[in-house]
């Protein structure tokens, strides 16, 4: 099946999310759609999938114009989509999930479970997916759940498969397996549109690379292009992917975490007797696939999550701090960049000035200047904000702009500006560049390295992006199921790290 998008234009108010986009996908091709967050990739795919109606342009399948009023039409036309967040029901089996919405029935409207099971088995065998139709979704690893999503699409005879950021939740090994699956599907004539911002994956698997910037197709790149070339094309200017760093000047232990256990929201043990020692002037990275307890570890260090009773200690410069409140920890030593900045790091409805004040104590020397007789000093607020905007290169119309209106990268810069301006010895940064444009990634990484080099801050970096970990870390601690599998030097190979991320001790 040949898919063609011709002159697709989609506007949201004044914003042109897709501007006259042309894209042809030949049968059996893997086309990679490369672009920064907000470039318009997802909008384009949502138009293709019938979730949005385009304001202009046409979708053609085998040179016939089609009109999708909803995802149902798109599915019937042979387009399948695997979303970044899986649309699976955890308490149903694989077969039930695959059949959902398209259930084979027996006489009297009863669901034909055997037929559903057979369908899963047939597809699974054909592509070597190795998926048990009777397993419950909640018992399956994320990588297998993703295969279930693919099976779901294939069971509806998808001839064009859209994969939206499919590797965000996978280990490097699972990513390799996914790529093998993609190649095999392509060999069988299924076309794949692969949306990502990870350059390495694009280079590895794509037949063609289409780069989108600011809603427009800026061109096609060859699969043999280098990462820098691809990044420059995405951003529209020269990009340096390497972070400059001074030689390591490791100081004394500043923060040590001693055998702590923490439960997650569902009451499961998410961090299990974990220990770490963080030195001044180093970046210790916690690598691992998302959902292995990193979030809970960070929240425990900040004080947002209680330690399991009698489970251990968090020690800052020889003093046990686990009984301190969040406020007290922030005041004493800690700066914290949370992984979900919209939820924990910012108030979208507040402007930049107000967000820079978010966790400022009004009691200390720095905080006192913001308040006069209980009232916030508007002039100081403004001047401080303008300083931060200049220093952190926050692209905005002014200090009164709402944080919610900023791009991901600029939001993160607001958070960083705030956290770095507060006095601190320990910087805890979680997923600092998630949802951040390539240009800002460069800047944010430099800022983190500056903390290490110029302030001798002890930096604890939590990241699921292996590239980021390798770029910044002095030491890498790999976390798996609530434990540290091992702490290895920064020179460790990707392959070894990948194995460790799957829980295999080196």
């Amino acid at each position: 099946m040949k898919l063609e998008l011709r002159g697709i234009t989609k506007r949201f108010g004044d914003l042109v999310a897709n501007d006259d986009i042309n894209l042809v996908v030949e049968p059996g091709q893997i086309v990679s759609l490369l672009g920064e967050n907000g470039a318009g990739k997802s909008t384009l795919m949502n138009v293709l999938y019938g979730l949005y109606q385009s304001d202009g342009g046409q979708i053609l399948i085998d040179d016939q114009a089609v009109n999708f009023k909803g995802p149902g039409d798109a599915m019937n036309a042979g387009i399948g989509m695997v979303h970044q967040h899986f649309m699976l029901i955890p308490v149903f089996t694989v077969a039930e999930n695959v059949a959902l919405g398209n259930e084979p029935t027996k006489l009297g409207g009863l669901m034909d479970v055997a037929a559903a099971r057979e369908r899963v088995r047939e597809i699974s065998d054909r592509f070597g997916f190795n998926v048990d139709p009777d397993a419950l979704i909640q018992d399956l690893p994320v990588g297998v759940q993703q295969r279930v999503e693919i099976i779901k699409a294939l069971s509806r005879d998808a001839r064009v498969l859209v994969l939206d950021e499919p590797t965000a939740v996978l280990t490097p090994q699972e990513t390799d397996e996914l790529m093998a699956i993609m190649r095999q599907l392509a060999a069988n004539g299924t076309s794949i549109i692969f949306i990502t911002h990870k350059l390495r994956e694009v280079q590895a698997v794509a037949d063609r690379i289409v780069v989108i910037r600011l809603g427009k197709v800026v061109g096609e790149a060859k699969p043999t292009s280098t990462a820098s070339e691809l990044a420059s094309m995405m951003v529209g200017r020269e990009v340096h992917l390497n972070v400059e760093r001074a030689p390591l000047k490791k100081g004394e232990v500043v923060l040590s975490v001693d055998k702590i256990s923490v439960r997650d929201d569902r009451g499961q043990l998410a961090v299990n007797e974990l220990s770490l020692q963080l030195h001044a002037g180093e970046v210790l990275a916690i690598a691992g696939v998302q959902g292995n307890g990193q979030t809970e570890l960070a929240e425990a260090i900040v004080g947002l999550r209680k330690l399991e009773k009698g489970s251990g200690k968090i020690i800052y410069k020889g003093k046990s701090v686990e009984s301190l409140s969040v406020r007290e920890r922030l005041d004493a030593f800690l700066s914290y960049v949370p992984e979900d900045r919209k939820k924990d790091g910012l108030v979208s409805e507040f402007n930049i000035e107000e967000n820079l004040l978010l966790n400022q104590s009004f009691g200390d020397d720095r905080g006192a200047k913001f308040v006069r007789r209980g009232l916030l000093d508007q002039a100081v607020l403004k001047s401080e904000a303008e300083l931060a905007i200049a220093r952190f290169d926050i692209r905005t119309q002014g200090s009164k702009s709402l944080a919610g209106k900023l791009s991901g990268g600029n939001q993160q810069k607001v958070v960083l500006a705030r956290e770095m301006s507060r006095p601190h010895d320990v910087l805890l940064v979680a997923q600092p560049t998630r949802g951040v444009d390539v240009g800002s990634i460069e800047f944010i990484h430099d800022q983190i390295m500056k903390e290490r080099d110029e302030q001798s801050t002890a930096v604890l970096l939590i990241s699921t992006e292996l590239d980021e970990v390798l770029a910044l870390a002095d030491r890498i601690a790999v976390m798996y199921r609530g434990k540290i599998v091992g702490i290895v030097p920064a020179e460790t190979s990707r392959e070894t790290l990948g194995k460790m991320m799957a829980g295999i001790t080196a």
């Binding site: 108010g13 929201d265 900040v302 947002l304 409140s325 969040v326 406020r327 007290e328 920890r329 922030l330 005041d331 914290y336 949370p338 939820k343 924990d344 790091g345 910012l346 108030v347 979208s348 409805e349 507040f350 107000e354 004040l357 978010l358 966790n359 104590s361 009004f362 913001f370 308040v371 209980g374 009232l375 916030l376 508007q378």
Partner: protein, 407 residues
């Protein structure tokens, strides 16, 4: 001992999990709060328009012309116009200026009544709005007002103090009683995770019945030589809020309380460090926690301060009534205040304006009744206005506005 601790932990974790997912009520409030000026104005226009249709459809004079509608449609039309003129004209006459007044004093009486009746709505509305901005859905102003009334009535009927001091003490006691009653809500939410909607509704009943019991009991608040009806003595002269124009008009210094309250509210919520933290909790509780704010404690303070505003409204009511006090003195202000807060978009200016509008409704409804139009229509108009503000798609569809303008 340890079991007790566990229970407390459990309650806390329940409290925090209950607060993690924003419930429907707060989503609706947030949506209403984001309503722009255009949407509010259109809602008011539309509310009056539909009120007009009700007036016309069910008016006897108009209905009697239906028989001859096809032979003489002009008659129906004229009758309809007359009803509208009587109804909304009566509203204006009763609330702003009455050209048919006996003398100049009577002509201007309506506007003073509007201000007098608006004052408690504004004060209680400010209190409600404060909790909205902290992310709480407080519908307990009624109970808080009633408790404030109990305190004010106690001081004004059972305590002897000199002129001036008496009034000030009564106001302060009303504010404190209400604030404590409000703080209970915050405390229960913080400690047990109980939802404030349920707690406030139940505490309204408790307060009302408690006040009735006080008013019924001879040793407590029941009037001297009182019979079976729960009613207090008239407030002492020394405790009454002074009127602004002597005996000429009923309007008293309560309106200045309302102006002061609006200013304090603006200062607190838009300029102060405390208000900044209140808003932080209201907008994003999770970020507030991460910023080291004790969210539970914020709830308690916010409820107490909110209720203090309601307490001012209580003082306004209890210290301006010349007869004895009965429970009916709360005059549904607690609920109307919710509407005022929503219509006013939670800003001091907006609430002041909305309070005046609803004060005008209250002042004008007797005049409407005299004009032969049932004043319940105003209740319908009030409800419709809020309905339209709460349902942007309705307004959008009606006026065919593009998305951006309705926001």
């Amino acid at each position: 001992m340890s079991e007790k601790k566990n229970l407390k932990d459990l309650a806390k974790s329940k409290a925090s999990s209950a607060q993690k997912s924003p419930d429907v009520a707060s989503t609706v409030i947030r949506d209403i709060m984001s309503a722009g000026f255009t949407r509010v104005m259109l809602s008011i226009v539309l509310g009056f328009a539909i009120g007009a249709i009700f007036m016309i459809l069910f008016n006897e004079d108009v209905v009697s012309t239906y028989e001859t509608f096809f032979s003489n449609p002009g008659e129906t039309f004229m009758a309809s116009l007359k009803v509208l003129a009587d109804g909304y004209g009566g509203l204006l006459k009763g609330s702003i200026f009455n050209p048919e007044g006996r003398d100049i004093v009577a002509m201007f009486r309506p506007i003073t009544e509007t201000f007098r009746l608006a004052a408690p709505l504004i004060m209680a509305g400010l209190g409600i709005a404060l909790t909205f901005r902290v992310g709480l859905f407080n519908i307990g102003a009624t109970g808080q007002i009633v408790m404030g009334l109990a305190g004010a009535t106690w001081i004004s009927t059972r305590v002897d103090l000199p002129y001036g001091v008496h009034m000030i003490v009564a106001v302060i006691v009303a504010v404190i009683c209400a604030a404590l009653w409000g703080a209970i809500v915050g405390l229960l939410k913080a400690r047990t995770g109980a939802h404030e909607v349920i707690v406030t509704i139940m505490l309204n009943y408790v307060a009302l019945n408690f006040f009735t019991w006080l008013l019924r009991t001879p040793e407590l608040l029941l009037e001297a030589n009182g019979g079976g009806t729960p009613k207090s003595d008239p407030a002492a002269e020394t405790a009454m809020l002074p009127t602004l124009f002597g005996d000429m008009y009923k309007i008293h210094i309560g309106i200045f309380f309302a102006i002061a309250a609006a200013f304090i509210y603006w200062l607190l919520m838009d300029r102060s460090a405390i208000g900044y933290r209140f808003k932080m909790v209201g907008h994003n509780m999770s970020a507030a926690r991460a910023a080291g704010i004790k969210v539970e404690r914020t709830f308690i303070w916010a409820m107490a301060i909110s209720a203090a505003f309601a307490g001012l409204a209580a003082a306004n009511q209890g210290l301006s009534e010349t007869g004895g006090i009965t429970t009916s003195i709360n005059a549904n202000i607690g609920f109307d205040a919710i509407t005022v807060a929503l219509l006013g978009g939670n800003s001091a200016k907006g609430i002041f304006a909305a309070g005046l509008l609803f004060g005008a409704f209250k002042a004008g409804s007797p005049a409407m009744q005299v004009a032969g139009v049932s004043p319940e229509i105003l209740g319908v108009v009030q409800a419709l206005i809020v309905l339209f503000i709460a349902a942007p798609p309705l307004i959008k569809a009606f006026f065919r506005l593009p998305e951006a303008e309705v926001k």
